[in-house]
Symmetry: C2
Subunit: 541 residues, 2 copies
């Protein structure tokens, strides 16, 4: 059978564009001689549609789209992910479904049984789990059609008490198809392949897997659609971070090469796709950001230029009395390397005026964190003013380490529409800079090697209030990604007092992260939507 896997980039709620893209792919696949074209999970709405699913109007538009798509399925069949209404009164009102379209009609509708409800996934919020499992018949073959998580019930710690394949295999299918919305993290492709391979081996069936590609606000889909033969050989892996219609001849498959990319190449591609799609899906083209002379803003500047073009990126230097001379010169060197001209605005006059206005209330109280934050917030205000006046979107440059411990100013350097590197620990920021510089020095060496500083008071260094980042980041990783408590982290060899101090900082700064921009997710546990923490709590704090 000739099967096309449509690894495409959809746009949440954009029915017109998504429907058009699906129909166009169907026509293209038909022209290429495919018998069947397979689209990802919830392709019609894009993933995740979130609470739009609670609007009847939204579901009505899904059905209109599916009818239109079905009508285009003549001479070719299609599998299309789309929500469907639960016809009985019991249970939730919707299913997360795969529509099998053939001969201009809806031939059958399969419902997802295992509904991921963890991290960024909220599927049981909207969907009733499917409980009846039947293969789809097509051209004399039986297809075990499953949706993403349906194949993810892991033997060693099954999250669900039943797996749909247990029933489907009884019908002797000749093929497994899985339509997915499986978001990127830098370890996810390996995990995904291991799990799919296990399904192949267990059932001794070939498996076709199609994934979304593209970013939906903070969630990035990497594609990497797959075809395994019945012996568990990986015959084809689709590209990462690119749209592609992949043609598979299930009888006479052509072996392709597996994607081999190292961590920082993956992260680089994920972040640039994240920026690209945020701008294109929001309808913007120009970015602005504050250039401090530090490594975080330098990295975000490079990423933004690579995506949007140097001519669409406006870096702004806003030195204060506490800025070192190299902050400006390093930034200028970076801009020179990128072929962009930064703007420079002095914040001191505003800082002085603000202090003067506040003087009657402040009296002779000493300089403290207040004055540090004031500077950061003046910069935020200036950047937002430029954003408002010229239509640039402000990119946030906070990293995961500082967001974790609250080492940043709310409404100051925490401003921005999108947090580009908020899921990279500081040590990962350095690694990504080295990756960018792998062929040629784009980010000046001095920016990478100098001691990090917020430069908000004389001679300030990050290490004045934080442990070295290589220690800090390991403790944070144990707590945030691995969800270890203090005792287990201390057992791993970290200083007891330090561990308690860091965990307390993480928990007591939740209030700041609640007001953070969406963070491009590149790890298995990013701040934001997938990590839900109480604010007014008292635990390890």
């Amino acid at each position: 059978m000739q099967i096309a896997l449509a690894q495409l980039n959809f746009h949440v709620g954009n029915f017109e564009q998504n429907t058009q893209k699906i129909i166009q792919a169907i026509e293209e696949a038909k022209a290429a001689g495919a018998d069947l074209i397979v689209f990802p999970e919830l392709a019609v709405t894009a993933y995740p549609p979130l609470d739009f699913l609670e609007f009847d109007d939204f579901i009505e538009r899904c059905y209109i789209a599916i009818e239109k798509i079905a009508a285009s399925c003549t001479g070719i069949a299609a599998i299309v992910g789309c929500p469907s209404r639960n016809p009985v009164i019991e249970g939730k009102n919707l299913y997360n479904s795969a529509f099998f379209l053939n001969d201009g009609n809806i031939q059958s509708v399969i419902h997802k049984a295992l509904l991921p409800t963890y991290d960024i996934f909220d599927e049981y919020r909207y969907f009733e789990p499917g409980r009846k499992f039947e293969c789809v018949s097509f051209k004399g073959q039986k297809i075990a059609l499953t949706i993403c998580e349906d194949l993810w019930n892991m033997e060693e710690d099954p999250m669900y008490i039943h797996s749909p394949m247990e029933d489907l295999i009884k019908e002797n299918p000749s093929l497994i198809i899985n339509i997915a919305a499986s978001p990127f993290d830098y370890q996810h492709a390996q995990k995904r392949k291991a799990i799919l391979l296990r399904n192949v081996k267990q059932n001794q069936l070939p498996l076709l897997y199609v994934n979304h590609v593209g970013a939906q606000t903070e969630i990035i889909f990497d594609g990497g659609s797959l075809f395994y033969n019945a012996s568990g050989e990986l015959i084809h892996e689709g590209p990462y971070f690119e749209e592609k219609i992949i043609y598979i001849d299930t009888k006479n498959p052509v072996l392709s090469t597996e994607n081999k990319k190292e961590k920082y190449e993956l992260i680089y591609q994920a972040l640039t796709l994240g920026i690209k799609d945020y701008f294109s899906k929001m309808g913007f083209s120009k970015a602005i950001l504050g250039l401090s002379g530090g490594v975080d803003s330098a990295l975000v500047t490079v990423l933004a230029c690579d995506v949007l073009g140097s001519e669409n990126v406006l870096p702004v230097m806003m030195p204060s009395a506490f800025s070192s001379s190299h902050s400006v010169s390093d930034s200028e060197e970076l801009c020179n390397n990128l072929g962009i001209k930064p703007e420079k605005i002095e914040i001191n006059p505003t800082f002085e005026t603000l202090l003067h206005s506040l003087k009657p209330l402040f009296g002779d109280r000493p300089f403290d964190v207040t004055e540090e934050n004031l500077q950061a917030r003046i910069r935020g205000n200036m950047l937002m003013a430029l954003s408002n006046k010229f239509g640039h979107i402000l990119l946030n440059t906070s990293n995961k380490s500082e967001l974790a411990v609250g080492y940043g100013t709310l409404y100051g350097d925490m401003c921005g529409g999108l947090s580009v590197i908020g899921d990279l620990y500081k040590t990962e920021v350095y690694e990504l800079c080295n990756y960018i510089n792998r062929n040629k020095e784009i980010i000046p060496k001095n920016i990478i090697t100098k001691a990090p500083s917020a430069e908000l008071r004389p001679g300030q260094k990050d290490t004045d209030s934080l442990p070295p980042y290589d220690v800090l980041d390991k403790i944070l990783y144990h707590y945030i990604e691995l969800r270890k408590g203090p005792d287990r982290i201390i057992e791993d060899g970290f200083d007891k007092q330090l561990v308690h101090r860091i965990l307390k900082m993480v928990n007591t700064n939740e209030y700041k992260r609640r007001q953070l921009a969406p963070v491009l997710r590149i790890s298995a546990k990013a701040f934001g939507f997938g990590r839900r923490m109480p604010v007014a709590a008292k635990y390890l704090s």
Copy 2:
């Protein structure tokens, strides 16, 4: 049987304090001659513990607490809500459980079957549903012990395919007990009573219901614990918004009066409890806020003074060249009524200095929304500076109408640690002001009657860019609370163009609400945690 209902205020993650409070209540109930004391759902952790549940360390502390509480149960039994570990490998790792403690031990553990996963609820994120149902035996009686949602499967639109009471009733229990975490909204108590009464009538059994009281960041629990006799008479209703141990003699019950409170009395009490618990649970005592002369900041000032005491509230007037003279005089009158002295800071010097610094980039471009936002952000910066210097928490004064349509400045008037009235439409803000003024004019009449204005440009009125609030709020209510699409709202008699314009404003301003402080929830659909919308989407926009 003598049963005590412990309607108490717990603190998320504060095991020490929660455990102590539970043990103290057990001792008090024992001294009062109770046979059994009943605590709310997840009393040990407080509700909702959110992703803390994913930490083994956190669960370990739950078990330590339960063991300690069990040890104190001699001569009295207790039902205590607490997470428990799922002993089998299949399914999620935890149950949401009710521990039945007696004779110093854990006698049995009942698991919640129906896991609310909608609005602010994420229970299937953490818990495996209970599937085995057995009554608890105590003093020769069989108790049908259920947890909150277990009784909420509604006949007319059941969200779950099975109800635990269908099984439990077969054992002929003599009593239903329901331990709950049922958050307040201004219509919820009526809904709750209707549903519990239906359970009573269906099963012809008396029902004891105990709820949390107190606020956990944005979620407010109102208490209102209940006792119905088997004929469906409401014998006792616990107070709203107050901690109380309620004693019920199930054999010879004493009839108490039902709570009768109108909408704005409820909202007033909910909001003041919300402020009180936010401050006490975060460890703060003083609030600051900007006083614009408008109705929103006037209302929040009154609420804050009522909770924290006038001496702990610092209102700051920050007039600009566009502020009307009555803005300052009205604010001063309000402060006079409240016995507080506001501070006054001019923003013009800072505004002029900022404009001067930005002039080389702005050139001769005309005054636009940039300059409006600049003023709002200077105010935000000043308030945060005072907050930093003196330790006041900044209260946000945005209302639901303006948050809905994006009529506010991110990092400006949207600053603040807690959004006090962000779940009240503008028309509800007026109603609550009238409630506050019911006996005596606290909020000056002129603040309530004058036309609302942001005063960010000469002669500005809200109605320059928005329809009148009575029309706007109705359209918003249809869209946000009732989740109607545009066609259905237009069918209800609203102008077609206006409906499309407003819905587009709501959807395209999601990016602002993503960075909003927690909003005290008083309606069935508040912005924040319980309303999850994509940012980079294109639907009705």
